[in-house]
Subunit: 550 residues, 2 copies
């Protein structure tokens, strides 16, 4: 992966000149001193780990070759892939670099690393694909912990078990999406989990951050797929999941899922798998407005038939045709193909099943005012489904700022949440002199609600990191005020932690801290991530919520 | 509800003489001194609550009329509805009677009761329908807590909100199944949650014990339906669920679901609802064996179409035709209608949808060796779906012992789990001189696994409670040894607690205790239920689980 951007440098796209012109004319994007510095020129502070600490780590992972302190390894494990992360690393800013990169070979080695680090009070940041966009890889430094290691799980990359009767597979956490799919495909199976980060993100990260893939309507979210988990913690092992579902107490799997490395390191997951579908078919539909399309998606989510992929772009995203930079000019020029709100549907199964479901879905969508656009828009989306982060690199290169954020809520609150977040972003950025293009899509639907995913493009301005922090703050406030969750699938990390604390309330925060204190009494696991710090003297009581009686 | 049995005394059935004869001849059931004593003759110890404590409770719930200390109220809140519970209460044994029954009118009153009880160190047992079959209503008396109140939630019985756009409803916890369905039906909706306890169990209990209804294949389990929760704890309020799904940290809703009153009192749930189906259709299928039928159910669970109801009785249960006592004689006499393993399927939707799904399911089942039996067996099951607990009263009356237990696991382990539990029960009871009839069915299926529900009938013997305790112990050991979960839908309570601790391991138990200690520092909430006690000096570390790498 590109140390200063996304993915394979060979796939980085340069923007065509008409696009650059439009960005300049519409958003005031000016060529900035925006090119990344050279990797070789990037400096990193000396590792704070002592020779004894490094020796203990080497012993834990079976050899010094699995403990790396060279500058390149440390730089490549610095922070994640949010736009502020990229802007800082492109500028050569490595203050959050880990003091070492440690590569365990299995569960017992992870336990050994945690024991060694707890003893030395060295923090541990689990590292899968390194694709966090919420600051999940740069720990804070609370009292007593001042050095940290990145625990890179890439050596734990096996398909440990495949149970064809139960249709489950046990996967190790370091498997990246394509590698996991390749191992399963050899036996005729698929996970069906394709988030935008699919090419680089890892199975452990999918679980730790509650990833949701583009085919979530058909396959479920990753947290739906997980039926078992093993977790290494400083206090020992958790081994959870004896049945798909159980009434034996709280579902502790759901306490580990989403724990972002703050409670332990996920060392294997048992997941549902499915046979590779015989065929797939994508298609596009146009709605007069995002609101009309939203209502149509709700019909499919509540009464079916539900395609495997179901997405809807708002008017702005439809116009820009985000996945195809070359089309930006054509769209803005007013081609009627880019009017209204574009929906993409993806169907999977046997050709007969697909035909049946497409026909029934078409009936629902037509009744809801949709206009069928045939296969082309769907296939175009499918072709570019993992491309947006590469495009971001190109936009940064020409001096544009681009970032995303997302939320979810119940259907009846979706319109107000959409407006609130859009207004907050446009208001904050325009007020600061960088009027943005704000686009949105729905990409995950449930019977009771849906996600909203926003993409923001603007000029970088003189200090884009600080500039964006204010807009992001306004958007997060708007999300909470409108009743949304602070993240539907990116996670909490450090960036959302304060809003997360408000979302779950002081008592919810206190529960998380109690769990963390029990599993990680030394506080070495991803400190500052996810778990809100204790508020001295805070009273966790809150007033009566609506609907609870009286 | 019958204080000494199940449900409406008017519906209690007397067993026909041929059935009694068969029980006598086959199982050695002998008329015992088995009739319940008179309610008026039952004694209960004086309440241990002081006048000050009672006054504080009355203040918390808005009046002394909502705090009951009369013998009948206390007896009616003594324990739950397991067979040992019934045998003890039928004998007039009331040592576990609550010291008072407290009836709060809303969330704030629940908070006030919890505060008052924490201050006085009086334990609180949340009481919904009182239908626990796992000892969930009889607290242990750990240090410092010696009196307890039953917190009966029946006054909190409103449909607080119905959101037709999001298709969710906010329900208060004291609503029993039929009342909740009636309120929703006025607006054209249903929860679709019909456990065998449906007629008496409550919404709060469904949530607190992770209930699973007979239509779980179509509607999901109750824990799938819950998208939001409010919880009153001694430390304040938890208000959870801003979207159907979220990546904002661990799913704390799933920590409350299944917490059985040990973490707090659920004061409202927001649940998914669906339009009342236009039609329903039930049908029966016969398979040569339970194994063949299990494989057929797995096909439907993994590749569809999935009916709303999907059940399969093993050969013994098929022969006995459990729901129809009058048929026991006919079946045992060798009618071919009772050979093999009977499956029941229930379909819901429009008549066209039902016809389509039935046809596709029929194709799958026929290919798997099934023989269609038409509507009659399905309709007979549907007619008697809530009757088994009434039948139990009649069986106890004639000196028989009857009890159930259940588990779940992954499909590949289902056959071994089935054999292990059957053998453990037959071995334990036969060895003790009461050879049992052991029957089993699958009633809940998932893509990755299924539940197994066992019904045991035997002679009562001289001390049926102690006698059963040994057999139950053997069955629970067998469940864990064969990889099953200790409960798929009955819950943990006091009865399963020790096996639950083994299931989640010492570190999982420690996490539960940490959560409980944070939410209930005085230890007043359902003490002894669910949460395993701390083992002094226990080391929560465990060895490496399979599949987690070297």
């Amino acid at each position: 992966m590109l140390w200063s951007g996304w993915g394979d440098p060979a796939r980085a796209a340069a923007l065509p000149e008409p696009t650059v012109g439009l960005l300049r004319d519409l958003l005031g994007v000016r060529p900035a001193d925006a090119a990344p510095v050279d990797l070789a020129a990037v400096d990193v502070a000396p590792s704070r780990l002592s020779p004894d600490e490094l020796a203990a780590l080497a012993e834990a992972v079976g050899g010094a070759e699995h403990v790396r302190t060279d500058a390149e390894a440390r730089i490549r494990h610095t922070r994640g892939k949010s736009t502020p992360d990229l802007l800082r690393i492109r500028a050569g800013e490595t203050s959050d670099a880990p003091d070492a990169v440690v590569l365990p070979g299995g569960h017992d080695e992870v336990l050994a690393v945690l024991r060694a680090c707890a003893a030395a009070r060295v923090a541990v940041v689990p590292f899968g694909g390194g694709t966090s966009v919420v600051g999940g890889l740069a720990p804070a430094a609370p009292g007593g912990v001042d050095a940290f290691v990145a625990l890179d799980l890439r050596r734990m990359d096996a398909l440990a078990e495949l149970d064809e009767v139960s249709r489950t597979a046990v996967l190790q956490p370091g498997l990246r999406g394509p590698a996991a799919e390749a191992l399963l495909a050899e036996r005729g199976y698929t996970l069906g989990h394709f988030p935008q980060s699919y090419e680089w993100a890892s199975v452990g990260g999918f679980a730790a951050a509650r990833s949701s893939g583009q085919a979530s309507a058909g396959y479920g979210r990753f947290d739906d797929m997980v039926v078992g988990l093993t977790v290494a913690t400083p206090e020992g092992t958790l081994d959870l999941g004896r049945a798909p579902k159980s009434a034996a107490g709280p579902d502790l799997r759901q306490l580990v899922l989403g724990s972002e490395g703050a409670f332990g390191v996920i060392t294997s997951v048992r997941v549902r798998i499915r046979p590779v579908p015989a065929a797939t078919a994508y298609e596009g539909w146009r709605f007069a407005s995002f609101g009309a399309g939203t209502a149509a998606l709700r019909r499919l989510a509540q009464d079916g038939p539900l395609p495997a992929v179901l997405r809807l772009s708002d008017e702005a995203e439809t116009m820009v045709g985000l996945a195809d930079p070359a089309a930006i000019g054509a769209s803005a020029a007013g081609s009627s193909a880019s009017a209204g709100a574009l929906a993409v549907l993806g169907f999977e199964g046997t050709p007969d099943e697909i035909a049946d479901r497409r026909a029934r879905a078409a009936e629902v969508l037509a009744r809801a005012g949709g206009e069928p656009l045939g296969a082309a828009p769907g296939e175009k989306w499918e072709h570019g489904r993992f491309d947006a982060p590469y495009l971001r690199d190109a936009l940064l290169d020409v001096g544009a700022f681009v970032e995303t954020l997302e939320t979810a809520t119940f259907w009846s609150d979706v319109p107000a949440l959409y407006e609130a977040v859009r207004c907050a972003l446009i208001g904050a950025l325009s007020g600061a002199g960088t009027p943005p293009l704000v686009m949105c899509h729905i990409s995950h639907v449930y019977a009771a609600g849906a996600s909203l995913y926003f993409t923001i493009v603007s000029a970088q301005g003189p200090d884009p990191v600080a500039h964006w922090a204010k807009a992001k703050h306004a958007a997060c406030d708007a999300i909470l005020a409108a009743g949304g969750t602070i993240s539907h699938h990116h996670g909490v990390g450090a960036d959302h932690r304060d809003w997360y604390a408000r979302e779950i309330g002081p008592l919810g925060s206190a529960v998380l801290r109690a769990v963390k204190d029990r599993l990680d009494p030394a506080g070495i696991l991803n400190p500052g991530i996810l778990v809100p710090p204790a508020e001295p003297g805070a009273d966790p009581s809150s007033s009566r919520p609506p609907g609870a009686g009286e």
